[in-house]
Symmetry: C2
Subunit: 210 residues, 2 copies
């Protein structure tokens, strides 16, 4: 039938549909949580019935695993790229913090899911995500230890310092708005300053102590 052929031609292709589903899941999982989101909600978001989603994906768990694994892989890749440009620990830390903050500001849905739904993720994906997280935290810790060894950074516990810096950047995902008073680059620079100061290598002078 001609009408049916036109309707079929209007339908988005497989890759487009898959991307729409992923987009809807990002929004809904981050707003209502994994268990708070039904397949019916995701389907309604893109104008289909829940059962039709299964022509483009295998399961709700797979959708979650894909989001969380991709997020951690991109954060790791961002760290590698940021720290490759210099051999100076202070420069590396500043670049890593800028990349970390930028990613958390621009992918707030992804990282919120990543930070909140780790227990909603079934095995073996949960352990894979946890392993990637540990790799990321350890990379930061090693960078800090390198700076301490070279006499550039001061900290009592490099591991705590790494956790503190990571966590403070994660927080940006919870309040950043593109139309806020500060540009993303200003924020990234400011967090870089705070990170360096926290490690005793800050650009700003010490406050006078009378």
């Amino acid at each position: 039938m001609a009408g049916s052929a036109v309707a079929r031609a209007d339908r988005p292709g497989g890759a487009v549909r898959r991307e729409q589903i992923r987009e809807a899941a990002l929004t809904l999982f981050s707003e209502r949580g994994y268990y708070g989101t039904g397949m019916e909600d995701i389907a309604a978001h893109i104008g289909m019935r829940a059962s039709s989603l299964y022509n483009h994906m295998s399961s709700k768990q797979d959708l979650l695993a894909d989001i969380m694994l991709t997020t951690m892989q991109r954060l790791l890749a961002g760290f590698e790229e940021a720290t490759a440009a210099s051999a100076e620990p202070a420069e590396q830390l500043r670049a890593a913090m800028a990349a970390h903050v930028r990613y958390h500001a621009t992918h707030h849905r992804d990282v919120r899911i990543g930070n909140r739904e780790i227990n909603s993720l079934a095995q073996p994906a949960q352990d894979e995500v946890k392993a990637l997280r540990r790799r990321y935290a350890r990379a930061w810790q090693r960078l800090i230890e390198q700076g301490v060894a070279e006499g550039r950074f001061v900290t009592r516990h490099p591991q705590l310092a790494a956790y503190a810096l990571l966590e403070m950047g994660i927080g940006v995902s919870q309040w950043y708005r593109p139309d806020g008073p500060l540009s993303l680059e200003e924020i990234a620079r400011d967090y870089g300053d705070m990170a360096l100061r926290q490690l005793g290598a800050g650009p700003a002078p010490r406050a006078p102590v009378p």
Copy 2:
């Protein structure tokens, strides 16, 4: 019947039951999330049937609201108490950070729920919790602004600095273990040092720059 009387005497009183329910909810909500936890799970945790819970509480939402409101009220009270002991911004900030870190380390279930389930909470409780959060963040921001005004702190954006310090303390709730290598007091002191250094008022010397 005598057997029935003994069984009745063995049963915990109303206040005890309510506390058991709250405890089970804290554990389960923090591990599996609000929507991931069923009333049947909570009941099984303390050896009853789900329908019996309703003799001691009114609804699952009420349980969540109580947890989240109590958490924010205690954090605010802790801040007030910590900052009352001194008029020196640096001393106040150190004490506030220690209180913040201690609370997040020792009440990790409560604060995880507080940070993850805000969107699971129905109105009007959700807005009440959000208002308490804003009050808490503003109190930190004012303390930082006071320190800047008195020439003790250096920061470009007191609001960002407040968010960064709050968030880094929140992170402690995600990794602290009582049997870890560092005592809670060591961690609280270290976070106090990091906070002060981040504001250019740290106790440790700057790293040498050759």
